[in-house]
């Protein structure tokens, strides 16, 4: 018999074939299995955006707010200037980035070896932990999330959910099927040298979020 057959036969000897009804219910209705939802994942109203920002900053991200997407080029130019970064940005084809970028040199494509600053759009934010949900694709290539030394992210305030429960529900509703979903909480870090935490291991050294609206 095949490895698959042998393994599943050994499992079935113990499960007796399992409880098909219970399994179908769990898979079909996404029952959380009675797990409690923490209070920090149930924040509503204006406090939700505030908690998202607080938690993201606690995870060493920086956050600024802009009124609308039209304000993005100016806000980005200012951030690049204040961080002493070249006036250049790399993005995917996301419609949010079809803009007049003014003095900032805008290039479109995947991440490269040497990439000072990248910009991608988050599908959702999660106030529970200050986490971004980024979906890969031509609009937002996955390598842009990791190869930029400074990673800028645009997030609509209306896409900030309270916690995992409402984020997964909203995510399913959006009906996307990307190869990769990245949940990102702060910039990359490591404590592997002398157990001293340092930012900027292999991914971005800095993460900045523009909350729109």
């Amino acid at each position: 018999m095949s490895a698959r057959g042998n393994i599943l036969a050994r499992v079935r000897r113990v499960t007796g074939g399992g409880d098909k009804v219970a399994v179908a219910a769990r898979l079909g209705h996404h029952q959380p299995g009675g797990a409690p939802v923490p209070a920090m994942a149930q924040i509503d109203g204006p406090n939700r955006v505030k908690q998202f920002i607080d938690k993201a900053e606690a995870a060493d991200a920086t956050v600024s707010r802009i009124a609308s997407l039209e304000d993005l080029p100016a806000a980005l130019a200012e951030e690049l200037r204040s961080r002493n970064l070249p006036a250049a940005i790399r993005t995917g084809h996301d419609p949010a980035f079809v803009q007049d970028w003014g003095t900032v040199e805008h290039s479109v494509g995947v991440g490269r070896l040497d990439e000072p600053a990248t910009l991608t759009r988050a599908e959702f934010g999660m106030a529970e932990t200050g986490t971004l949900l980024l979906a890969s694709g031509a609009d937002n290539p996955v390598t842009l999330n990791f190869l930029g030394e400074t990673h800028f992210v645009v997030l609509e305030a209306k896409d900030i959910t309270a916690g995992f429960e409402d984020m997964w529900a909203a995510w399913r509703k959006r009906g996307l099927d990307p190869r990769t979903v990245n949940l990102v909480t702060g910039p990359s870090r490591s404590a592997d040298i002398g157990q001293t935490l340092q930012l900027g291991a292999h991914g971005p050294i800095s993460l900045h979020v523009f909350v729109v609206g």
Binding site: S2, V11, F164, R179, T180, T185, S190, Q195
Partner: protein, 476 residues
């Protein structure tokens, strides 16, 4: 040590060497209580934490009770997304499968995100023997690969390495850089970052592990802080996921339950920096990502744990909290354990996976203080299972004869309460006399294993039984 040549049978010798090794002792002093305090703070910051641990335990029990159904659904979803699932009964099967995929991809270099399953299968040595260069990209894994070692901790693989040792190592291995450069924590990190950044673009295959496999969506999930696992899977043309089959969870909501306890238990973070869900190869219109996606689903003895007293070990999510809180691990570090998994979880898992004949020493490396069970996010009764292994070791007559005689002697005494009371009274009296009023004994006949390292406290007052009686303790 390699996965293929465990040194667990010489565990006692390993311990003696670790205790005498100044670098390990310095690193373990530095390891100290950082993880412990961070976990405690994270737990305190979420009132529901212990209730979510219960839910996480229940979700894994439910999944294990229906493992065949969830694995079948998971496999179907991976295939639907255009990926491949390779079932591996043994580590040897997994090695063969990985090599075939690498050869088909024409690989000369393989980048690796952190994966304990690959350690369990001895993938690095195997690839090298077959002319393929594995490059570990997790910073800690990179350091120990340069040192020719294996991880000493499941989430902090280089925890046994001191900063001066890293300094020396980088000067030796990064010989193309200026020999006179100054290295501190920050510059060592940026140096490793620069060296590895180039390697990301050279590999034809990337191997990662999986913290979870989601049956509902066919996604594999990795949880990291560095981002190396993401570069390792996004840049090469082939992505191989090495996962053991008990990693499957039913839905995204169930994954959230695990995530809520995982990072808090591991590093005290509310969320690790990167939690990445991968499904299949890149989509047709994607400009980046792997063209092929393979999952190697490893059994290697796990299905034989189902239905036994060790089944609960399959709930383990590899957070490392048990070793962070273990007084034995804190004293000797991970390498002394002699195989892939150290600490309390390793002491239970190792005999299950490589046999009690080889790994049976490890369950003895416990004072049964119970901290491992107290902090385990999945509420795995680790001390109970170590006791089961001790029983099996005894039954198989693998226990050293001195210990067997000692147990037989104790049993003979304990079965005769009158004699036992008399003997303990005399023992307590004798020890008190020997202490000559100092309350401590610096030397003890046949007790050198204790007194070589610390004084033995002399008994004060009567025996436990006599005091129990004097305090009006109930007798059954």
């Amino acid at each position: 040590m390699s996965a293929l040549r465990p040194t667990t049978p010489r565990f006692k010798q390993n311990v003696r060497e670790a205790l005498a090794n100044e670098n390990i002792q310095a690193a373990m002093r530095n390891y100290g209580s950082g993880f412990v305090n961070k976990r405690a703070a994270a737990r305190a910051a979420m009132a529901e934490f212990d209730d979510i641990r219960d839910a996480a335990r229940d979700l894994k029990n439910h999944t294990l009770a229906n493992l065949d159904l969830y694995l079948a659904r998971y496999e179907a979803e991976v295939l639907e997304a255009g990926g491949h699932v390779h079932w591996a009964e043994t580590a040897e099967d997994a090695r063969r499968i990985v090599l075939e995929i690498c050869r088909d991809a024409g690989a000369t270099t393989v980048n690796k995100g952190k994966t304990m399953i690959s350690e369990e299968c001895g993938i690095n040595d195997w690839l090298e023997e077959n002319g393929i260069r594995p490059v570990e990209t997790d910073l800690g894994e990179y350091i120990i690969q340069l040192r020719g070692e294996t991880p000493s901790h499941i989430i902090a693989p280089a925890v046994h390495v001191t900063v001066p040792e890293v300094d020396e190592l980088f000067r030796e291995k990064h010989a193309h850089l200026d020999a006179g450069r100054r290295l501190d924590h920050a510059s060592m990190l940026s140096e490793a970052r620069a060296v590895l950044r180039e390697k990301y673009f050279q590999a034809e295959v990337g191997i990662t592990g999986a913290n979870m496999l989601i049956a509902e969506t066919g996604q594999s999930v990795i949880v990291t802080n560095e981002g190396n696992g993401d570069l390792s899977q996004s840049l090469p043309k082939v992505h191989i996921v090495m996962a053991s089959l008990e990693k499957v969870v039913p839905t995204l909501e169930d994954a959230a339950t695990v995530l809520r306890v995982l990072a808090r238990s591991a590093t005290g973070q509310e969320m690790s920096v990167y939690t990445t869900f991968s499904a299949g190869p890149k989509r047709d219109t994607d400009p980046d990502g792997p063209e092929e996606y393979h999952v190697v689903l490893l059994d290697n003895g796990r299905t034989n744990m189902l239905g036994t007293e060790f089944q609960e070990m399959l709930r383990c999510i590899r957070c490392g909290a048990c070793m962070n809180h273990c007084p034995v691990y804190q004293a000797v570090g991970g390498h002394a354990y002699g195989w892939v998994y150290p600490g309390p979880m390793g002491a239970v898992l190792t005999p299950s996976l490589i046999g009690v004949e080889t790994g049976g020493q490890l369950p003895n490396a416990s004072t049964f203080c119970g901290r491992c069970e107290a902090v385990c996010p999945m509420r795995i009764p680790l001390p109970k299972m170590m006791r089961h292994w001790r029983e099996r070791e005894f039954e198989k007559r693998l226990t050293p004869s001195a210990a067997r005689w000692g147990l037989a002697f104790w049993r003979a005494l304990a079965a005769r309460p009158g004699l036992y009371r008399m003997a303990t009274r005399m023992g307590a009296f004798g020890l008190r006399l020997m202490a000559m009023g100092k309350g401590r004994l610096a030397k003890l006949p046949m007790g050198g294993g204790w007194t070589d390292h610390r004084d033995f406290p002399a008994p004060q007052g009567g025996t436990f039984q006599s005091r129990w009686k004097a305090m009006g303790g109930r007798r059954r």
